[in-house]
């Protein structure tokens, strides 16, 4: 589903590469944690998957497409197969919960009938049944993150990218969010989650890829946050 082949990414004006010779293969339906300190290259790896940037060397394949060879006008089609969730939720504050989720479908050209059907379904899936008419600022942090996940998932993507989704949440709420991501993963969606949250990683016992200084330090099936586990 996602393959990095000896990928090096050096940003212009920076002497040191953000990623160096990274080779990783993520199968369809896997759940992968990307861990490492700030500046270890996690965000760059996620940006490469989203084709927000391109590798300096090496190849990145996402859903069977080599992103470096992908024409600009085909990038939106690639991104429709990827849902994205961020630490800061990134909801539109002037739209209701339902409108926020529907927005992702509207701008990718779904018709009203589909939207009317899928938005409530997805809100139910993420546990926000009956909260569709609320505004984002009336919700708790955990609920807002659920809205963001609903928005990322409503287009039924093959891949879900989560960049520190529990970074702004307390541990109890984080557990709820992780259960939700696990549930989405069980529907066959590949989940790649970058995190600093050791508790979450240790509890889930999923594949862990640890990055440091742009290199893969560890790639462990059913790993924990720390190397000793």
């Amino acid at each position: 589903m996602i393959r990095f082949e000896k990928v090096t990414k050096t940003y212009p004006g920076s002497g040191k590469p953000a990623l160096e010779q990274m080779s990783v293969d993520v199968e369809k339906g896997e759940f992968v944690f990307l861990v490492g300190q700030s500046g270890s290259g996690k965000s760059t790896a996620l940006r490469l998957i989203l084709r927000e940037t391109r590798p300096t060397q090496g190849r990145v394949y996402v859903a069977g497409k080599e992103i470096n060879r992908l024409a600009g006008w085909k990038v939106p089609r690639l991104r429709r197969q990827i849902g994205t969730v961020f630490q800061d939720f990134r909801l539109l504050q002037n739209k209701t919960v339902s409108e926020n989720v529907a927005f992702a479908m509207q701008v990718t050209g779904h018709n009203r009938g589909e939207i009317a059907k899928r938005v409530p379904e997805t809100l139910e899936l993420v546990g926000l049944d009956g909260k569709g008419d609320r505004m984002p600022d009336e919700l708790s942090g955990g609920e807002q993150q659920r809205v963001a996940i609903a928005r990322a998932f409503v287009n039924k993507p093959m891949i879900l990218i989560a960049d520190e989704p529990t970074g702004n949440l307390d541990p109890a709420t984080s557990v709820g969010i992780m259960k939700l991501l696990d549930r989405i993963n069980r529907t066959g969606t590949t989940v790649v989650m970058a995190t600093h949250d050791a508790g979450v990683v240790d509890q889930m016992r999923k594949r862990v890829i640890e990055l440091g200084g742009g290199r893969v330090l560890r790639d462990q099936v059913q790993g924990g946050y720390g190397a000793q586990l």
Binding site: V75, L78, T84, R90, F103, T108, G109, H110, R112, R151
Partner: protein, 303 residues
């Protein structure tokens, strides 16, 4: 494609940036009006030049029956015409020349003053009253005197008119107006381009969250840019409409209703020339707003 969203965004965008859009529309309106004026003046100059010959021309009027000039014994004869033509042809300063017949001259007069006055038994002038004339184009207008001297006094020549003296000031006035309008239009056009660019920057900034999410969930570039392009089209349409109205008012109250009556010896432009000016304005307006929009949406909204 969900056009409902695009149109609601368009409405929001127009309201949110209302003052900027008004600035764009007004600038566009004035610059397009000036461009239209330039086109009209250019055509007016063309018409005047067609009417009087261009500035390099000298007209040699030949004798009519009863002309009270020493060199005119009678109506000009073919032999005299040939002799005159030979002199003109032999002059190194002459670029080209042609003979205008009485019929051609009469047709010109009729076009200028309207044919109804020159037909029927009460005609003011008839074809027979017109003089034949040689129309000479010079290689260098400064040599006009030399050519005039060579022709004046020849048998069969009634008088020689150097059109530069008559038409020159009018033509150069029209030219100055034309270039002035063009120059101001260029400056205002640049101002309009920059205003459009600024408006887009502001709009893209105001909508940066929506745009970021649209990119992330895979909205196409066209879809993201469409509200901006439609805003550009709307401002262009309003600007063009205002400029067209202003030009129409200029034609109606300035030319058709006033100058064409009071200064009727000049062949003035009419509504068909106005049509051309509107066409130019209607093409230029959208170009001025869409061009920066296309360039900047590529820059700011790149997926």
């Amino acid at each position: 494609m969900q056009l409902r969203y695009v149109f609601s965004e368009l409405g929001q965008g127009l309201r949110r940036n209302l003052s900027m859009h008004i600035a764009v529309i007004l600038t566009l309106f004035v610059s397009l009006t000036l461009v239209g004026m330039g086109v009209l003046l250019n055509q007016q100059a063309q018409r005047a030049a067609d009417q009087w010959g261009n500035q390099l021309q000298i007209t040699v009027y030949l004798c009519r029956q009863g002309d009270n000039v020493p060199s005119c014994a009678s109506e000009v004869t073919d032999a005299q015409k040939q002799a005159i033509s030979k002199v003109i042809d032999g002059n190194p300063n002459v670029d080209s020349f042609y003979l205008e017949s009485k019929a051609d001259a009469f047709a010109k007069v009729k076009e200028l003053y309207g044919s109804e006055r020159f037909t029927g038994p009460d005609a003011v002038i008839t074809e027979a009253d017109m003089a034949e004339s040689f129309w000479i184009t010079l290689k260098d207008p400064h040599q006009a005197e030399v050519v005039k001297e060579a022709v004046v006094g020849l048998d069969g020549v009634a008088r020689v008119q150097d059109l530069r003296n008559v038409v020159g000031p009018i033509l150069s006035f029209i030219d100055y107006m034309k270039y002035g309008a063009g120059l101001v239009a260029i400056f205002l056009g640049i101002a309009a381009l920059l205003l459009v660019a600024n408006t887009i920057r502001l709009a893209a900034f105001a909508r940066r969250r929506e745009i970021a999410i649209m990119r992330l969930v895979g909205a196409s570039t066209l879809y993201i840019a469409l509200p901006f392009l439609l805003e550009a089209v709307v401002t262009a349409v309003v600007g063009v409409a205002l400029a067209t109205a202003a030009l129409a008012a200029f034609m109606q109250f300035g030319i058709v209703g006033k100058l064409a009556d009071s200064l009727d010896f000049i062949l003035w432009i009419d509504w068909s020339q106005f049509g051309w000016a509107v066409l130019v304005v209607a093409i230029l307006g959208p170009v001025l707003t869409l061009l920066p929009t296309l360039l900047l949406t590529r820059k700011y909204l790149k997926v």
